[in-house]
């Protein structure tokens, strides 16, 4: 890990949930554990209790949307956000958090914006992180078609926004959980640590 400060600098163990209705939640869990976080899979509202932050993984956004409805997770997830707990969404996770779905970040995602699977790609992406660009993997990826004034766009591909932050919410259209570069997750875990210190 390229000199990223440990998210455990606060000395306290942090616990991060990964929404595990469908998708690559195990890959996220593996990265978070590597970075020293405690990880819990979230499938029902009670699983959100006492988490410090939450990841919504990649997967099929239609499947995850239906799963959130079936488990009645919509309101509990919005309450989690309202309590100031950081949330990180990748690919389908970005879509789940947008205006048309959970309404947790003020963006509108365009689904499958880069095209079908034959157009899926990897590209180096500059996110302003120490250590240079990240190798970003885009799979039937969305982009951010519109965003509100309080949203900070962190990166673009061919003029389309693919990473953004608004307050405690971080979204990316690619899959940092699939490579072995943990810097984007470290950035998220830092915000989880910070939010906990603020709350304490």
């Amino acid at each position: 890990m390229n000199g990223v400060p440990s998210p455990r600098a606060s000395g306290e163990q942090i616990t991060v949930g990964v929404l595990a209705l469908q998708g690559d939640f195990e890959a996220h869990g593996a990265v978070l554990k590597r970075l020293g976080a405690e990880v819990r899979e979230v499938r029902v509202p009670a699983d959100l209790d006492r988490l410090d932050g939450l990841v919504i993984p990649g997967g099929e956004s239609t499947t995850i949307t239906l799963g959130i409805e079936r488990e009645q997770l919509g309101d509990p997830l919005r309450a989690f956000h309202a309590a100031g707990k950081p949330i990180f969404g990748t690919c389908a996770g970005l879509i789940m958090l947008d205006r048309d779905h959970l309404g947790i970040i003020d963006v509108r995602a365009e689904r499958n914006a880069f095209g079908r699977q034959v157009r899926s790609f990897e590209a180096p992406l500059e996110l302003g992180l120490e250590g240079g660009p990240v190798e970003a993997i885009f799979i039937r990826a969305p982009w951010i078609a519109e965003h509100g004034p309080s949203v900070e766009i962190l990166a673009e591909v061919e003029g389309h926004a693919v990473a953004a932050r608004e307050g405690s919410v971080l979204v990316v259209a690619f899959h940092p959980e699939l490579g072995d570069d943990d810097r984007v997750h470290a950035l998220f875990l830092q915000s989880v640590s910070d939010a906990r210190l603020t709350a304490a």
């Binding site: 998708g23 690559d24 997967g59 034959v118 899926s120 790609f121 990897e122 993997i137 039937r140």
Partner: protein, 294 residues
């Protein structure tokens, strides 16, 4: 700058399908039902395996027009099947821009010696396997996802269980081997040494493995997930049952909550009759699909 169709990108789509259910559909209406029930992808084909069994004759790639109509009906990934070794069918499916190609024993094999060389394709491939050697040969040929074969179109889970247990048992056994023994295991399994070495070190296949062939109930899905499948394919099990909408949603729910019996119980209630089934061991050798391919 942009690097398309790398192996990471091909295997990555399978990662996104994990924990999900891929359903066989034969028209737009079924595709919409599958999507609305929470399928993470659909397999577009003209006849589900149980009908292929009943009808006999040569089973080929589906009519491209039919596949296209399904691509237009849903936003989830659309897969389609090519015959084993029939690289020209695969080329057609790639030109159609399907999201995954299943080089499938459910169709009549086109080549009895060679599977498709899958590396040159931009579209990723999923292939069936009954044991570890077969899975690793397919991955060596470029497959980016594996499914245990089971016995398609029967509604009998016994072969799926056999294949999953075989593959996972063989993976476990590799873990205890020395380097010299790993080379022997590669020879015995007729599998690429590099891949055998990687599996021995990591304790898992280098790509995602789903389970297929015989899943008919929510409890079947729970069973194979508990045995180590990372998701399920359901062929005839949904649209040959009494209430496809309810059964499709129930199998999705049971796949997510496979470790929670109360949830599998709830998902299993009130589904009506399952598909008509055939006991696999009563099939004649020539009627088996899982022994196609090597």
């Amino acid at each position: 700058m942009r690097d398309e169709a790398t192996f990471k990108v091909k295997a990555g789509l399978a990662e996104m399908l994990k924990g999900g259910v891929i359903m066989d559909v034969i028209d737009q209406e079924q595709a919409r039902i599958a999507e609305a029930a929470g399928a993470c992808a659909v397999m577009a084909l003209e006849r589900v395996p149980s009908d292929i069994r009943r009808d006999g004759g040569v089973a080929r790639m589906s009519d491209p027009e039919m596949i296209q109509s399904i691509q237009e009906a849903v936003t989830i990934p659309v897969m389609a099947k090519a015959r084993i070794g029939h690289f020209a069918e695969a080329q057609v499916l790639e030109a159609l821009e399907v999201d995954y190609i299943d080089e499938s024993e459910v169709l009549t094999p086109a080549d009895e010696a060679n599977h498709i060389d899958k590396w040159p394709f931009k579209v990723p491939f999923v292939c069936g396997a009954t044991n570890l050697g077969e899975a690793l040969r397919r991955i060596g040929e470029g497959a980016a996802m594996i499914r245990s074969k089971g016995e398609a179109g029967t509604g009998d889970i016994v072969e799926a269980v056999r294949h999953l247990r075989t593959i996972n048992g063989e993976i476990k056994r590799l873990g205890g081997l020395s380097e010299a023994e790993i080379a022997t295991a590669a020879r015995d399994n007729a599998a690429p040494l590099e891949l055998v070495r990687a599996v021995a070190a990591s304790g898992r296949l280098p790509v995602v493995m789903f389970c297929a062939g015989g899943i008919a109930t929510p409890a079947d899905a729970s069973l194979v997930m508990q045995l180590g499948a990372e998701g399920v394919f359901v062929g005839s099990g949904i649209f040959k049952s009494a209430d496809p909408e309810a059964r499709a949603a129930a199998i999705v729910e049971a796949t997510t909550h496979y470790e929670v019996p109360e949830r599998v119980l709830r998902a299993s209630e009130g589904l009506g009759a399952a598909m008509d089934s055939i006991e696999s061991r009563k099939l004649d050798e020539s009627e088996l699909l899982s022994n196609r391919g090597w």
